[in-house]
Assembly symmetry: C2
Homo-oligomer: 345 residues x 2
């Protein structure tokens, strides 16, 4: 086994807690030798990093579903890579793996941290490395369990999803179509809306940058909205609340419109529609479903093999692009699941 | 059978749609002869009227769970009274009944309208006439099904209820205590808080007029909040959202703090706590549970007989007091279920 400590690990660490949109000065680029894996440990060469809206929340202080990233620590990120050193019989050199490797080019995981890191071997027969960060990764798992277990769509119902061209949205809509629902997306720009309808098979997609979401919902959801899968919050959530049906389910997955607020989050003024319509608004955190990831991966991989399910990734090259690439999420400049490639294959 | 058309019916009709708090000019007092019951019909002498926060919503135009009261129509209200004329074998003269009789001193119900009016005989052995508008009436039914079927408290959990001394709140808290929960009320003023703790047996009550709700929740809900039954909305809802536990259930029953707004409703800024805590916010409309009212009435009446359940009504005298009495709800000047007595017994 090669001596990994001769390699240089390029890292992006959190230098300051951002106020509003993260700035370059909120990050610090660090180089240090790769750590040796130690007894039972593993060293991974990181290949692709997942860039997710949730990362913005992890940068804030305060109580949440996981502790914040500490100042000076390597930024947390999901990733895929390849084992380059292993003292653990469960992981062989050359195997592809996924896990919370962080924004760095190498990740050494001590034996005691393997569970916490979520280190798992992945099968490239089921999907490509970028797909393992998209439909077969956290966004796919979030979509699968959030839609099916919290939203609980029934065939013939109308499902609306915001951020429809994004990582979670594209999977939510396709699973809802497979379930037999009418599916209407909300996305920004004609290109994304065209992709969602033409390539993913949604029934319609409302371009919130060009048209009234209210009018779009009236036109494309003539029977009202039974399930709304919300990735954006803000005005769009409020507008959808005016169109929900009795017994509707609203899945709160995220609120990307609010993550860089320097003023308080905009609460949904129309929340009393929940009362009038005996409707429900409920949050999802994907980690709760870890015991069932395997089931979801197998199902989505099968749909992909059958040609019934597609995915789109937007891959940016180079660790040094991390700060700018992350901010693409908040202006909607990414098109599909945003991924940072940090090493040549 | 006496000729009821010789009697005068005193009515309060909706004259204008209020902007903000209802004004005297939004009402019109009308006198007209009592209508004859006709074939299969019934005439009721109204004795007590239920005054409820929901009435404010019925005065607004727009889509809701029931149509608004039309301009010029008798104001909708639940009530109890006594049959004084009947052409229907199901209702005998002298029987006590409840139903949606409206804000008037007599109500004649055609045979075809008996179902819609909810005309039902009531048994004064189970409770007094005012209690039939409180724990055995709509507020009691709302509390029973909202808490047990939507909130679903488990023994040992912490239940918080706002408007704790009000009609719905007093019943929610007592049922939660009987379920084996820790119960913390939120109410305005030392007298109400004392009543809730000393007479109804809540574990604690936070006086939102005198103290910080946030500090009160920290002190009295050391294990967090599992069920929040919300009657008030606004800042109190937002504060409770910061203290909920994983998997918490928030029952949206009303939002009395917002009903007279002339600005948009204050949405809950902290709604993303639903995501972080995988929690649920869900609306209740009591009419959905009509098939099971009998079960709830029997259960609550039994608890009352056993001395395990108490109720408090605040009875105002005289139909002419209707406009002022209704507005007592919005300033919290009522103490217990607010009832208007419109006839001598």
């Amino acid at each position: 086994m090669a001596d990994v400590t001769a390699l240089t690990n390029h890292q992006v660490r959190l230098a300051a807690r951002p106020v509003g949109l993260p700035k370059d000065s909120d990050w610090r680029f660090v180089e240090e030798p790769v750590r040796a894996p130690g007894a039972g440990g593993v060293t991974v060469k990181v290949l692709f990093l997942s860039l997710d809206p949730a990362m913005r929340g992890w940068m804030n202080e305060g109580r949440s579903y996981i502790p914040p990233v500490g100042l000076g620590e390597v930024m947390r990120a999901g990733a895929v890579g390849q084992v380059i050193a292993s003292n653990n019989p469960r992981f062989s050199i050359g195997e592809h793996v996924s896990g919370g490797f962080g924004v760095q080019t190498y990740c050494t995981i001590a034996e005691a941290d393997i569970g916490r890191t979520g280190l798992t071997t992945i099968d490239l027969a089921a999907g490509t490395l970028p797909q393992w960060l998209n439909a077969l990764g956290m966004p796919g798992m979030t979509a699968y369990f959030g839609l099916l277990e919290v939203g609980r769509p029934r065939p013939g119902e109308t499902v609306v999803v915001s951020g429809a061209a994004g990582a979670v949205g594209q999977t939510v809509g396709q699973i809802a179509k497979i379930t037999g629902c009418r599916v209407v997306g909300i996305a920004g720009g004609a290109a994304k809306c065209g992709f969602v309808v033409d390539e993913l098979g949604f029934d319609a997609c409302i371009d919130y940058k060009a048209a009234s979401v209210r009018e779009g919902l009236k036109q494309h959801c003539p029977a009202g909205v039974d399930v709304y899968f919300d990735n954006v919050g803000g005005d769009i959530l409020d507008t959808v609340l005016t169109r929900i049906n009795r017994g509707a389910r609203i899945v709160i997955c995220g609120a990307i419109s609010q993550y860089n607020n320097t003023t308080p989050v905009k609460g949904p003024s129309n929340y009393l529609s929940l009362l009038v319509n005996r409707a429900r608004m409920e949050g999802i955190v994907v980690f709760d479903w870890a015991d069932r990831y395997r089931e979801a991966v197998q199902q989505i991989a099968q749909w992909m093999r059958e040609g019934r399910f597609h995915s789109r990734e937007d891959v940016v090259q180079g660790l040094e692009k991390f700060p700018a690439a992350l901010n693409m999420l908040f202006s909607g400049r990414n098109f599909g699941k945003l991924i940072l490639q940090v090493a040549d294959l």
